[in-house]
Amino acid sequence: MTEITLRSPLQPDRLLAPIQPERRSEMYWLISDSWIMAKRSTMHIIRSMDQVLSLILFPIMFMLLNRYVLGGAIDTGEVSYANFLFAGILIQSLAFGANYTTINLAVDMKEGIVDRFRSLPMSGSALVIGHIAADLVRNVISGIIIIVAGFAVGFRPNASLVEWLYVIGLSLLFTLSISWLSAILGLIVKSLEAAQWAGFVLIFPLTFVSSAFVPTETMPRAIRTFAENQPITHTINAIRAWLVGTPLEDSALLSVVWSIALIVIAVPITNWLFRRHSTQ
């Protein structure tokens, strides 16, 4: 039952007295709008139970399952499985977290609120930036939970402070690139279900066919070639090297190049998709 009747009549004169907008630079408004959108997207995460639960439970569950169910059967050489596993779980959780960018964006695009935003004098890219910033916040929290869980199952890094900073920096850059890619998906898919599927169908194989949970040496040739040359493996190898002293080789460099390249490609595509979405 809708109820529109007001208790006291409107005061149209007061309601419609003209208001001067604030005069600021374009840059100020881009930052202000993005900040507002990031707060909004963060609120969505905090206030939706399933997102909070998956944020906390997912990494812990994977950590426990891998460590105690698979761990005994996997030979990681001189490195203990708990030490080997940590980088894999971290990057996998961050990748899965980015799926919420797809989902949340797809939900937004379906609802009237995006039309409202687009009818405002706000910056066009702020909505996507907001989702990606919120994703970053979620993934920082996720990362902290994984570190705690890791220590609980026997993860014992020997990284220096500088190496820890490298780990954090590379993880954030990786999150950023995968969030932008997820934003593309979010703008393409036609339904919420498709958004969820797209994430699983892409992220599951990509994180499994990598060095996340097992050394790549045991994989069949074709799969191994793929696994050893994809960005998730480079990122995991670099983080693992910094944390527990496995060989670094050129994994850090390759990871950075991949992430930056993906961002450079994805940003204009998302902008284009966002504009196109609404003009048809």
């Binding site: 529109i4 009747t5 007001l6």
Partner: protein
């Protein structure tokens, strides 16, 4: 007063030869609309007529394919940002953020409209009060009732006190009482000096609210005027003839062929515009008599906007300009 004849400076919205296609499907075939400052214009048309498309173009959500449109003196394509600062849009479905509270929704919108922090807070407080949302201000919108969402939606489009307000089917889905309340709200807003362009499928709504009515169908303007002039266009009085169940309704229709009439086979009613008053009526009755059609009832009345609409849009009706004599 006819807005098409007014000064350019008096016009809040000017639309000329507006065209739009979705892929190969042409939706707007050259629409012209002029809305005077401070007036209410109703865009009246059936489902699929192109009302929402027009509103979306005027609020810069869709680019037009041809023609031009100015809102508050700004071009919707080249000066989209100035247009956006001048308008408040309330769409067909509530565009509120369900996870935020009512207050957060308003605060967010105020800043996105480029109001200062202080103005945003002041307006939020005022609008929560005006729209009876103070008690619910700190609750997530998904806990709101339908009516509360509608009120918040309207409040959100008013946060920057825009001079021009677009309302796309503002009363669709409302119960009769709420509908009346919404009508009063809209009237109040116009009294405050706002220019309002609303769309509706209901003639009585256009009749009650609008200073000027533009009737569109299949992307074309088929008539415009104030409610009275539109009604008088349909002719003088209307006669509803109820055809007896014993007689053939299709035969009755044939018998009056050549007259401006509308047929309602389910209720077996023929509605005839009696342009020549009693003369028309006598003619009709004679023809029906000759065709041996029995008439069960006869009712003479003034035309309503419904008649206007049905006669103009050809919606399952027959329009014959010829008159009999």
């Amino acid at each position: 007063m006819d807005p098409r004849q007014s000064n350019a400076a008096d016009n809040a919205i000017v639309v000329r030869n507006l065209q739009k296609s979705y892929k190969d499907f042409k939706v707007l075939h050259g629409i012209d609309i002029t809305v005077r400052r401070g007036s209410i214009l109703a865009l009246l048309g059936p489902n699929g007529a192109g009302k929402t498309t027009t509103i979306r173009i005027l609020s810069t959500l869709l680019p037009p394919d041809g023609g031009e449109a100015q809102v508050n003196g700004f071009d919707v394509v080249n000066q989209a940002c100035d247009v956006r600062s001048s308008i408040g849009l309330t769409g067909q479905f509530a565009a509120v953020d369900e996870y935020l509270t009512g207050e957060e929704n308003l605060l967010m919108l105020g800043r996105l409209y480029r109001l200062s922090q202080a103005d945003t807070r002041r307006r939020t407080r005022e609008l929560l009060e005006q729209f009876d949302l103070v008690d619910a201000a700190r609750r997530p919108v998904r806990t709101y009732s339908g009516g509360m969402k509608r009120r918040l939606d309207l409040a959100m489009s008013l946060i920057a006190a825009p001079p021009i307000i677009f309302l796309d089917e503002p009363t669709t889905g409302l119960d009769p009482r709420s509908r009346l309340s919404m009508w009063n709200l809209i009237k109040e807003l116009a009294r405050g000096g706002a220019t309002i362009l609303l769309t509706t499928q209901y003639m009585d709504e256009a009749d009650f609210l609008a200073d000027w009515i533009v009737v569109i169908d299949e992307g074309k303007v088929i008539a415009e005027g104030d409610a009275n002039s539109l009604k008088s266009r349909v002719g003088a009085d209307h006669v509803d003839l109820t055809i007896s169940a014993d007689s053939n309704f299709a035969l009755a229709q044939q018998a009056v062929d050549g007259v401006q009439f509308q047929a309602n086979p389910e209720q077996r009613i023929l509605t005839i515009a009696a342009n020549d008053g009693v003369t028309t009526l006598r003619n009709i009755l004679r023809r029906l008599d000759e065709a041996q059609i029995e008439i069960e009832g006869l009712n003479m009345r003034r035309p309503t906007l419904d008649d206007v609409f049905l006669f103009l849009t050809d919606n399952g009706s027959h329009e014959h300009a010829k008159e009999i004599n």
